[in-house]
């Protein structure tokens, strides 16, 4: 084969349709090798670039797994922290509630005492003379029922 490879033959070569005659010609023809290289080189680079992009699926997945494992690692710690917080806050709240209750109870006791004293003083007050027999009767009644 003395003539150079045609444009179609260059493409056929790249498609993998190679015959012995072309092969022999290419061995001694740098021009045709260059013609093939002009198309083959960008395609080779393109193939490598796509494969490089293909590797990102693994990188992305690995990053995702790492994030997930971090999240998993954080869970027990977060749970522990939440439990500790609950145990720390509950007694405080209970104490406050109890302290609150204590104040209220004391206030109630004081007011009860005041009321009782008031009632006793009213009861011990002398009644008008006309009502004295009734008052004595009431005292006797009360004493009998008790």
């Amino acid at each position: 084969m003395k003539e150079h490879l045609s444009g179609d033959q260059v493409l056929e070569w790249m498609m993998g349709l190679r015959d012995a005659e072309c092969e022999a010609h290419l061995r001694g023809c740098p021009e045709c090798v260059e013609a093939i290289g002009k198309v083959a080189a960008p395609l080779r680079l393109f193939g490598a670039a796509v494969m490089e992009l293909g590797s990102e699926v693994r990188t992305r997945k690995r990053a995702e797994n790492r994030r997930r494992s971090w999240r998993l690692a954080y869970w027990p710690a977060a749970l522990l922290a939440a439990t500790l917080l609950i145990f720390a806050v509950l007694p405080l709240q209970r104490g406050q509630r109890q302290a609150g209750h204590g104040v209220t109870d004391a206030a109630v006791a004081v007011s009860d005492e005041v009321l009782l004293q008031h009632v006793e003083s009213e009861l011990s007050e002398s009644v008008p003379g006309s009502m004295e027999p009734l008052a004595r009767l009431m005292t006797n009644e009360t004493g009998r029922t008790r």
């Binding site: 444009g7 179609d8 493409l11 056929e12 790249m14 498609m15 993998g16 349709l17 002009k38 198309v39 080189a41 960008p42 395609l43 080779r44 680079l45 393109f46 193939g47 490598a48 670039a49 796509v50 494969m51 490089e52 992009l53 293909g54 590797s55 990102e56 699926v57 693994r58 992305r60 690995r62």
Partner: protein, 187 residues
Amino acid sequence: METVLQPEALPAIDELADFDAVVRCYQRAIYGFVLASLRDRDAAETLTQDCFLKAYRSRRNFRGEASVKTWLMRIAVNLVRDHASSERLKFWRRARRPDVDVTAVSARIADGQRSPEAVAVVKERIGAVWSAAAGLSHKQRTVLLLRFVEDMNILEIAAATGMKEGTVKVHLFRALQRVRARIEGVK
């Protein structure tokens, strides 16, 4: 460090016995193919998972007539085709697609050449093929990706796509014509 198995290191049909290894081995290729076909990262991840799920469910039907890679590619090609046809009317999605920029990885694959000029040349070349591929028909793009990304031969592409050998040749030839025209236009 994660071990990535090489397909050649695994025996033919027994490959499916360890499905985790199959996923590790071909995930990158399947994802790359789907991503380059659809240019949509989310869809590519979903379809890659779907592909392996389908393969796992039908693994007992695999007779080993084709290689595992060809078999997986066939599933992926069908998933991409179905997805592309269902998305045809969703313009908003289509508008969203160019979120994948294949030229962004140019610096990483510049064959060890670190100069900005070398990276720019690589980026330009990759960009030319990328934009040419975007303008191809679905079938042309599929065969182009299988040939030049997955390094499959005509027979393997025919097996993966369900097309006849002659049809694959025609689509691949036309795809290459468009790519060459684009590359020459860039220069």
